[in-house]
């Protein structure tokens, strides 16, 4: 990954950065620095978009959509690599200021395996399911992104809410495939390219950082409609205004399935 990253930066930085700056884009360009806000310490690491967690199982490719169960810890919860195993991370009750909601991908008696928002992509962990600090709910939505077709589909209770042509990651900074989830709903204090940013649990696999952030992939709007239908982003999915409006109503924790 580092080689690809350096290649991207070394060869294409000027072009990429210029393009991003011109378009008032997502943060201002890739950077080589490590994740500035990563917080390794003697204490357990937090499962957030800023951290890289080691020793936890990664979900395999081609997952099912699941039953829509999403859970919200009302207080930080320990995360284990196996049901009943020792804690290896902490799932905080908030992500980027929004309440933490993560999808359940597997259950065992007393334990639930959830997708986590940390690197590497598709990292999961087991949390105790009987904990009174854990709220359970169900999202009836599924968000599907087909990067080949450059198409976004929102499904609610098995019915299509809408289909939109979107912009996806360019060939050298692709939108990572696999299952992730809606992580947060952000209203930028000074919106430039989108009134709402909807980060997901996945990160770019070719950019370690981007614009000072940890390379988090997101849904957001874009001022120029000409981008829709093209593979031009650094991993994010740029969507038309009405798609953004529909996405902003989808509960956090809702699965996002990205297929190539």
């Amino acid at each position: 990954m580092r080689n690809r990253f350096e290649h991207v930066l070394g060869v294409r930085t000027a072009v990429l950065t210029a393009a991003v700056m011109l378009a008032a884009g997502c943060g201002g360009g890739g950077q080589r620095t490590g994740s500035a806000q990563e917080r390794p310490s003697a204490a357990l690491q937090q499962a957030t978009t800023y951290t890289t967690l080691q020793g936890l199982p990664q979900e395999q490719a081609s997952p099912a959509t699941g039953d829509g169960t999403v859970v919200h810890p009302t207080a930080p919860l320990p995360v284990s690599a196996t049901p009943g195993g020792p804690p290896v991370a902490i799932l905080p009750d908030k992500q980027l200021g929004s309440p933490t909601w993560v999808p359940v991908v597997e259950t065992k008696p007393g334990w639930q395996q959830v997708l986590l928002p940390s690197r590497p992509n598709r990292t999961t962990g087991w949390i105790p399911s009987g904990d009174d600090k854990l709220k359970s709910a169900r999202s009836t939505y599924v968000i599907k992104v087909d990067t080949s077709e450059r198409r976004l589909v929102i499904v609610n209770s098995g019915r299509k809410v809408g289909t939109w042509t979107v912009a996806v990651g360019a060939s050298n900074t692709p939108t990572p495939p696999g299952r992730t989830f809606l992580l947060a709903s952000l209203a930028p204090s000074k919106p430039t390219y989108s009134p709402i940013i909807l980060p997901v649990g996945a990160h770019s696999e070719t950019l370690d950082t981007f614009g000072g952030g940890p390379g988090t992939v997101a849904f957001h709007g874009w001022p120029q409609k000409s981008v829709f239908g093209q593979a031009v982003t650094h991993g994010c999915v740029r969507v038309p205004a009405d798609a953004l409006k529909a996405l902003s109503r989808v509960p956090l924790g809702t699965p996002v399935l990205v297929t190539a």
């Binding site: 943060g27 978009t49 039953d67 169960t69 009836t140 709903s185 940013i197 994010c236």
Partner: protein
Amino acid sequence: MRLTHVAKYAVVAGAVATPLAISAPASYASTDGTGSAYALAATGVVPIGPISPVHVTTGQQPTRKSLVEVPPNPIIEASVLNAAAAPGYARASVADVRLIKARLAASLVTAKCTPNGGKSSLVKAFLNGKKLDVSAPPNTTIAVAPENVAAPHIVKVVINKQVDNPDGTLTVTAIEVTVSLGPAKTETISIASANCGSRPNEATPPSGPAAPPSAPSNEPPGTAPQPTPVTGDLPVTG
């Protein structure tokens, strides 16, 4: 005498239990949400229960509780107190109900909550000697004047009480009776109460033209909330 009663209760219990047991596999298979029920509860001067409380949520197995007879108390006599719940479904029933000091009695009182709505039924139910409907419309309220010598203790009776709760669930209580036990002393007795939620979207009626389509209060119960954007910045991979 006691033996006879127990034998009778066992028969009634079987009759009450059977419909839910038979319908369970087909109905529960693909349903999510919560289901909870209790057979009897009273609040006020003499708190009782809830008796046979059950609660399940998505992914859990159907469950049920039964009690042969309500413990001795000055308020109510009842037997075969059943409650059963499955995700999205709930049911409660009580047999041989008799309010002490009030002329309200019923052979069988049942409340049911399903994704398609709620329902109550009363078998051989009488209030002040008058027979009550087997299937009264929702929230049938019978007010009884305090000076009514025939029922000096009853203040109000609601049959087939149905409440749409703020969390989106529905509560069906077959009979709710408010009884006066003296100056400023009231007792509210709920007989057979079932609560369920997360009805499939298809079964959720439209909220009316004035309501926004995405209002959280119209969401099915147990549904994850619509997010509220928080002010914040994260440089993402635009």
